[in-house]
């Protein structure tokens, strides 16, 4: 075999490979475009059936014979879409009817599947119509290794107001970091007062720092007012994170000794704690607080000076007057930050 025939063989092989690759890519793109247009046509059909059911108050009929995972996924997509538009009234009974008739059985079967896509389907179904009957499966899915499963199903326990589930979310929050931490925090912040009361109850146990911190972080929510938790221990904690979290709660939930703590924290070595104490003075009028804020305008730290100036501005006329009265000759730092805040206040709020 000479060199030319080997080269010719490789050339033919390359041409055939390229032709196969081209065919596969063309087939793939044609298939995916047909599939996506078919899916969108099916979704339109399901949507019009649902609209018909709402308008004419009649039972929903599935527009396809085979209940495959693909078809049911499309149904679930449409239901989730409608659920973003409507609540209560005519929509809720129809949604539950469709869920019980077509999705519930599959969701229960898929909850223990080895395929995470099926578990995600189950989690989405449970989230669509939360029910105590599925609590054990929901709690099981909350421990799923895939975030797209445990994240979706965590929403369900907040909707259901399950005390056990809320405890589990707090546990997850204390164990996870980054995006998932904030995701859990956000769903807890959107929960009811009843859930906040449970979180307050859980926060009384400070045996595990990360769990305790997670509870305090959620209780920082400004619309909830503490009933049982006395923050004295937390505010005196040697752990700066606990101290800071307690201070944030205290600023919205003034307690008997609050000003004493805030006043002490105004002199704290930790800049974050000091700044938080200054911000706390936005909400409550404690004795001599304006004078304390005025003194902070002379602080060597720009962050402290700026936050004091902003807090003074948020205190209205009295605070603005203090800022306007600062003289360049008396203290350059105080004058500079006061002028800055007066000029650029609206850029910060």
């Amino acid at each position: 075999m000479n060199f030319e025939s080997v080269a010719f063989f490789f050339l033919v092989f390359e041409i055939v490979s390229l032709a196969c690759l081209f065919t596969a890519l063309t087939y793939g793109s044609v298939y995916s475009s047909i599939h996506s247009s078919k899916s969108s046509a099916t979704k339109t059909l399901i949507s019009s059936q649902i609209v018909d059911s709402i308008i004419n108050q009649k039972s929903f009929v599935l527009p396809f014979k085979f209940h495959t995972i693909n078809n049911l996924s499309l149904l679930l997509d449409v239901l989730e879409n409608f659920d973003c538009k409507f609540k209560g009234g005519k929509w809720e009974p129809l949604k539950r009817e469709i869920y019980e008739k077509f999705l519930l059985k599959k969701a229960r079967a898929f909850a223990k599947s080895r395929d995470w896509v099926k578990r995600n389907f189950a989690a989405r179904c449970f989230s669509l119509c939360p029910s105590q009957d599925n609590l054990s499966l929901i709690l099981l899915l909350m421990d799923d290794p895939v975030f797209l499963v445990r994240g979706v199903v965590s929403n369900t326990v907040v909707k259901m107001e399950s005390k056990e589930g809320i405890f589990k979310i707090l546990e997850k929050m204390s164990a996870e970091q980054g995006y998932s931490y904030w995701y859990y925090r956000d769903i807890l912040l959107s929960s009811s007062n009843r859930v906040f009361e449970w979180i307050e109850e859980y926060s009384l146990d400070n045996s595990k720092t990360s769990f305790h911190l997670a509870c305090l972080d959620v209780l920082e929510h400004p619309y909830f007012h503490l009933k049982k938790l006395n923050l004295e221990k937390e505010i005196r904690s040697s752990n700066p994170e606990i101290h800071l979290a307690a201070l944030k709660i205290l600023s919205h939930n003034p307690q008997v000794e609050a000003f004493k703590y805030i006043s002490d924290d105004l002199e704290d070595n930790n800049l974050e704690i000091q700044t938080e104490a200054i911000k706390a003075l936005e909400y409550c009028c404690y004795p001599d607080y304006l004078k304390k804020l005025e003194n902070k305008l002379k602080d060597p730290s720009w962050t402290v000076r700026l936050n004091s100036a902003m807090t003074l501005l948020k205190n209205g006329e009295k605070g603005t007057k203090i800022l306007s009265n600062q003289k360049l000759t008396a203290n350059t730092n105080a004058y500079e930050v006061s002028q800055f805040a007066l000029k650029y206040y609206w850029n910060f709020v």
Binding site: S47, F82, D83, C84, K85, F86, K87, G88, K90, W91
Partner: protein
């Protein structure tokens, strides 16, 4: 009594449902599926004197709902009430919507029964105002 309601929303399913529930209550819905269609209608020779209410979706695909509300508020000199219908429901979004000239803000998901009552009370208020003036 004025009974015509203009709805500018890109969601065809929502238009069908609202058209049905509003007509069942004796209101007539004029639906436009995009901001540009809405603008075209608002700039047309249509007799707007019988328009009782305008409902605008905030997240229109082609025009910012806030701008459209501003345009309507200016065109009708705030004589026709405008209500926002939107998935954006944070405090900031609602304040921004109301400041742009809308008198109401309905956040999605909403209850159809409550929606009807809100529409009815706004139209009633509009008709009473009209009589007084």
């Amino acid at each position: 009594m004025l009974t015509k309601v203009l709805l500018i929303d890109g969601d065809k399913d929502l238009i069908k449902i609202l058209s049905h529930v509003l007509s069942a209550q004796g209101f007539e819905l004029i639906a436009k599926e995009s901001g540009s269609q809405g603008m075209e209608f608002l700039n047309s020779d249509y007799n707007f004197a019988d328009l009782a209410l305008i409902i605008i979706e905030r997240n229109l695909p082609d025009i910012d709902g806030i701008k459209l509300v501003g345009f309507c508020a200016e065109k009708f000199q705030r004589t026709v009430p405008i209500v926002f219908l939107s998935e954006l429901s944070s405090d900031r979004d609602i304040i921004e919507g109301l400041r742009s000239g809308a008198i109401g803000y309905i956040a999605k998901p909403f209850n159809l029964d409550i929606f009807i009552e809100k529409v009815r009370s706004i139209i009633l208020w509009r008709n009473t105002n009209l009589k007084i003036n």
